[in-house]
Symmetry: D2
Subunit: 367 residues, 4 copies
């Protein structure tokens, strides 16, 4: 029965709102006072979330417009909780009412009914809708602004969609241009093929999943609170809270299971007076603590649950097996949107651990 809608310890993000309710909202508690912050810092991130090529995403027109309700005064954070809100506009709830007793495969319809004893707001998936991630983006915008004060840089991008994989390391330059194409893959050629795959799946009334990679550079060594608030543990927790995430790996990840110690171990070496490692199989985290090397994480995204094809399911009103055709406007692939969400999620955890390490006051003082 206990509460679970907040995450973070010193930089605490609380998410409220529903898919077809009045709004989606985010509270950030713990952001230090004095950070220069404006509405546009959030709005830019919200705009970037939605690929411009509307064919590959949901037909729901979600031009989200943020309102900041508290915590910012004269262009600076005050140290009080920041509340940011986006009103829902284009919700069409009637479709959901008609089919509310048909469990949609891949969705949380059944588990949510049990958990909330049928009282959850089921319209559009309610709290389980991808729309909730608008709050992640809003909160992430505060985290990113804070991290920029420390020169920490975070970039997520698509490395696989529907089995089509980017097999080489993209350049920094390519990564910076990842939002230029609708699938957010740093390689334009691969992006083209991914895009086609999505359009094909859409045509079939089907959907695709994929893999998002995230790299955080310039993260200072020493972040993380082992044993149980390890940096990788907190990152994984946050990422698994994103709807559709089924796997998280750090550094070499599952490949490390096939490696020998002599292959996996990152050898230390001094480069320009600094301790570095020659490889980065650890993914920038050793013993749950950042090592100063880039943090590298990969996240598996399942294919969109809502598809046009007929599927077997149960009609709860009659407790009988039946067939469902899911209506509504859905993304044939949510990986492109997930890129922004993964990026924001990682920013939120890094900001929290920065504050937990006591890193902030000095930097803001210099502002």
């Amino acid at each position: 029965m206990s509460a679970g809608n907040s995450i973070g310890k010193d930089f605490v993000f609380t998410c409220f709102g529903e898919s077809h309710g009045k709004c989606v909202g985010a509270i950030i508690d713990g952001c230090p006072a004095g950070l220069s912050f404006w509405k546009k810092d959030i709005q830019l991130e919200l705009d970037r979330r939605i690929p411009s090529k509307r064919e590959i995403v949901s037909a729901r027109v979600e031009k989200d417009s943020v309102e900041i309700l508290s915590g910012v005064f004269e262009g600076r954070t005050t140290g009080a909780p920041i509340c940011a809100l986006t009103r829902n506009r284009d919700a069409r709830s009637s479709e959901y009412r008609q089919t509310k007793d048909l469990l949609r495969p891949g969705h949380a319809d059944y588990s949510a009914r049990i958990r909330y004893r049928n009282f959850n707001d089921y319209r559009g998936g309610g709290r389980f809708s991808g729309r909730m991630t608008v709050a992640f983006i809003m909160a992430g915008a505060v985290a990113k602004k804070l991290l920029r004060r420390f020169n920490v840089n975070i970039a997520a991008y698509t490395v696989a969609i529907g089995g089509i994989e980017l097999r080489r390391e993209p350049t920094i330059d390519e990564i910076e241009r990842r939002f230029d194409n609708p699938v957010r893959c740093p390689d334009p050629d691969t992006a083209k093929i991914m895009e086609e795959a999505i359009m094909n799946a859409k045509a079939e009334g089907d959907s695709l999943g994929g893999i998002v990679q995230c790299i955080a550079t310039n993260v200072p060594p020493g972040l993380g609170q082992p044993i149980f608030d390890s940096l990788d543990a907190d990152l994984a927790k946050m990422l698994f809270n994103i709807p559709a995430v089924k796997g998280v790996e750090v550094g070499a990840g599952f490949k490390s299971a096939e490696m020998k110690g002599s292959e996996f171990n990152d050898f230390y070496s001094i480069r320009e007076g600094k301790i570095t490692t020659l490889t980065n199989n650890a993914g920038g985290i050793q013993g749950g603590i950042s090592s100063g090397m880039p943090i590298s994480i990969r996240v598996a995204i399942k294919p969109t649950s809502s598809i046009g094809k007929k599927q077997k399911t149960v009609d709860l009103s009659r407790m009988k097996d039946t067939i469902i055709e899911v209506k509504g406007r859905h993304d044939p692939c949510i990986v492109p949107k997930a890129v922004s969400v993964v990026e924001s999620s990682i920013a939120l955890i890094l900001a929290d651990h920065m504050l937990r390490a006591g890193a902030i006051p000095k930097v803001l003082a210099e502002e």
Copy 2:
């Protein structure tokens, strides 16, 4: 600077102790009063952790003997914190003193020094030693006893070591006999090959990683506190806190990234009057809430960091590149021990979420 050595919300596990200090200890706070519990409930789990075939594990003789210091009275939990302790015996610290300025590749030596400003107890890896998992086992024993009152069953087992993979689903019977062989693989033939691979790696002064699978059956639907204390998120967080874990996947995991929605979605169907799904790609968790299907998780374990081979590293006392030969007695593969640790870790989180769902009092009342 903040504390991070506790995990769980209603069933809280705190871990203390060091590899070469006086002891490893666990506190469980929140275990309901009235649970039948004895020292042997922990001792059995501790004994089972160490494979009988000593060749494949560390030569350190760790016959661990538990002492319960509080929270149990006349064979029952009292509702007060349970403190369980295992004294360290066979620690040989002198080796570590000599080489304390040589960063051991794969270990947390560097990140820990930064985090604790050189004051951490480095002997045997200190808090970063696999020995800390003895506390996971002790706490997990309480969780398992509690879960048994609900008929929840948890079984972890090895599915891959050094690239050798068990490619078929083992039977329930085989899973039950997983501790009969030293690598804890349910298939005896595959187990044999894995064992040989470990011995070969050992002979080369090298080490192997692998994958542990865990299945929890009979978990009631409705566990999990989304958005941020989702069941999969809390499980992933706990698992990433186990030393050497580099990846976690739930259900189809990373494979889901290559599947279409029509392949991935688990179709609902009524079986014997109960809502079930025909497949279990979700791994028993939908929208962060248990669905009643078996919970299925896979964990990637990196190869043991300490290897006999020479490795490049840095000597901090001289700030120079150098070569290290790691001494000490080390497991050529920690996957067999990790099986117990993964099992305990998952038990701890499930027990916490059982309590968070308010499930306990009635059951204990019937005892």
Copy 3:
């Protein structure tokens, strides 16, 4: 630097907003799904907060109108976070800008400047304004509705203002009519004298403090999580967070310091088959756990900080001693408003401990 704007463990109240910002808001996370709840449940409490006789309170016209943004669907809580909001209307901020460098005696001006390094929203006291208690009232309305499902009854009332004390126990009937007079004292004659005292203080440009008593009846025995989340400890913590509270006592409170054990101890006795005590010096809490006897708490409220009289202070812009005349519209006595806030605060903690005790599901199921 860490966050502190949430309280409660299973029923979590987060407060946001500022005195002269856009709004005051409350998030309730953890309210069980299925509770019948409407906007009017909050509105009634907000209306009751302000004494009808406007002379004894601030001239600021605060007809607060609540908006529920999330967590309620078709007249029932959904289990998702409930966000309730009251817009600020009648804020006159210009006065505060002119005198922002003059520390107002009795206020948090100085400590807040240090804590938030001058970036706090100082207008109207910002986060330190009594206006923040509007959020306490909104959140308390949810708690009260929940507690009513268990027949728990909470009543706060004024027992002293400016040294004028109600020296006898009021009857249940009198307590029920406490909101009939503007000072919320159950005895109408004493209320009259208190009212006059307030008007006199106002005429002098001065202010008065007082004592609020709160009684909670029908609280089941067994609530409280000692050692550190004792029921009295959590109540005291919540109460000290109300602006202007300088003391909290439970049962006989400070008088117990003068009593002998034989006088203080509440003797047990069976009454109508139930365990009760013949006296209630413990105030319904033994060892940090509710005993089933009425919970009785007294709260000391300091006189309103803002007074018309000239006061010595410091001008921070010139770092010089000076004289201040505090402008603005202020209550000559906040005790009448504090009655509602104390009642709400105690409801919030009791609701949290009800949920922590696992008490909810059954009761809602019967609804």
Copy 4:
């Protein structure tokens, strides 16, 4: 059902053990690495807890000897959890077994039975024994050592016992010698009278309560995390968790209820270039944040529950009213011991808030 045996956010104190179990233990999680710390730092505090004049305290011989199990290495804290343990020696449990169904007036016997469904360790009061405060002392010793690095000074002393009150402000010198007399009152003459009062109460088979005052000087301004982790709120919470505390007041406390605003308000003034106030009715805390003035708190302690006199009670085994004569060795007045406990408790909260304010690293770096 949830856990409640930890307190603090960045400096977390967990208490385990029972009065007649094996030990009383404390875990401190979050103490920064590098603090010089030795067993004797705790032992001195434990020794000082027990007045030398044995007549006025319990006859139970509690020469407590601390053992540090973890978190300290080569005379310095490591950043890992510190576990400190005191074994119980002189427990005589048989007396408690015989009368376990007779509810002892003033004790938590009844509320604890309900809370823990009869499974609590009732011997010697179990978790509700004053003996638990040994853990407060042990943890407090770490907090005090840390605070000394910031020159924060904390002194608690007795100001009232059984109605005999110290009516004047003691000098700093007198406060420093408070442990010279068995009642810990800074004024030797008043101490003498208090001592006699205790001996008289003892002779009658009765007990006395009292009031402990605590002053913390040199606390930097800016500590506290309003709205809900206000410094006074966290202090009050901690203090109410001490067995026998029935009231807490800050600064003028309950007296402020009788004061006018013009009397209560502390006027600001510059003294030696620093912002101070001419009076300290606020008790060093404004708006939940320390102001830099001395923190002043008073705590009401009820008379010892166990008395020799016959008392009415209930025999649960027969569900009948009866008479009880409480056996065992008890303090006629616990106020002298409470002085150490109040001091430790306040140190724990101040240390936590120091860390939460990010104050530590720089100071330790200078060591």
